[in-house]
Symmetry: C2
Subunit: 190 residues, 2 copies
């Protein structure tokens, strides 16, 4: 084990409206085994969609995409690649913005994030950037061309992670985050 | 993508008794989002124990250890290392015995197993061998010494996997299994 990997919570957000990407900053979020309480992605199950092509579309499966996380540093890199002043966590529908964890988006599936008030989040994997998230950025820079399509490349390996709640609790801005990587496993055929 | 990784289901088992390791072979198992219906490890939550030292003991966390899987080939290797005739899936409390998937225990976390009647299982990781499982083997070879403690080494990287149900369904002996490995991710500090 090397030095512990840590960061801190910059802001916490909830997306209450069913059809909108946008989330809204709040003073704290409660996470249950269903996800962020009050968020549109909360639920023990979800319907399989384009992100899970191995299931029939619409099949009810366990929800491993309850929570969306981005990092301050990676948002700045996306903004820089798009040549805009900033890209905000709320525009991308994130529930948590963290800072200080290097290459947040590259944390492997199975990584756990520990928060001081009990909450533990398990990372499912990278949130691959799509044009829908890109379109959510466009209204903030109406003078810029083709932001939605440029977003996919600009946000490559920077758009953050999705995951699920492993242990319920509270998360607030300023909370320290401790990162526990899973044991590395390499599978090769004999 | 190389050739698809496949195997088949040799037997399915349920452990109905709360305190016993042993499982019992049945003609089919139904898996729900809680796990194997009727099995003592089923449930959306579990209490944190010695296997999850990063939680306070007894904390209620999401149950990712609903289902236990072993492979015919690895059971034979364990038996050979213990110098006994056989080690049965039921003795180790497994819910599924698969055959034909090379190095089952080494499949990485995030691996999905697809069964023909809808069921999809997500692998959480290796089921590290413990003396408790070893003690469950002892009664079948009363003349052999120290099987429980030798089991831990004999079953190293051979004791199978645990995981959770991602999609409900039915699983029966003879069912084909399709294995989908997760995308490999390497995390390194900048």
């Amino acid at each position: 084990m090397s030095a512990p990997l840590t960061g801190h919570t910059v802001r916490v957000l909830v997306g209450a409206e069913p059809k909108r990407v946008l989330t809204r900053e709040v003073p704290e979020v409660r996470v249950s085994l269903e996800g962020v309480v009050g968020d549109r992605h909360a639920g023990l199950t979800r319907k399989a969609d384009v992100r899970t092509p191995w299931f029939p579309r619409g099949a009810l499966v366990r929800n491993s995409r309850q929570v969306s996380l981005v990092s301050t540093e990676e948002l700045a890199l996306i903004a820089s690649a798009l040549e805009v002043l900033r890209v905000q966590a709320s525009w991308l529908g994130a529930n948590l913005e963290l800072s200080g964890v290097p290459r947040l988006t590259r944390l492997p599936p199975g990584t756990r994030l520990f928060f001081p008030e009990d909450a533990v989040l398990m990372m499912e994997g990278e949130n691959t950037p799509c044009r829908k998230a890109g379109r959510a950025v466009e209204p903030f820079y109406p003078e810029r061309q083709a932001l939605a399509s440029r977003f996919v490349k600009a946000a490559h390996q920077r758009r953050g992670l999705v995951g699920w709640v492993e242990r319920p609790g509270l998360i607030r801005p300023g909370d320290a985050v401790r990162v526990l990587l899973p044991p590395p496993v390499t599978y090769s055929l004999p």
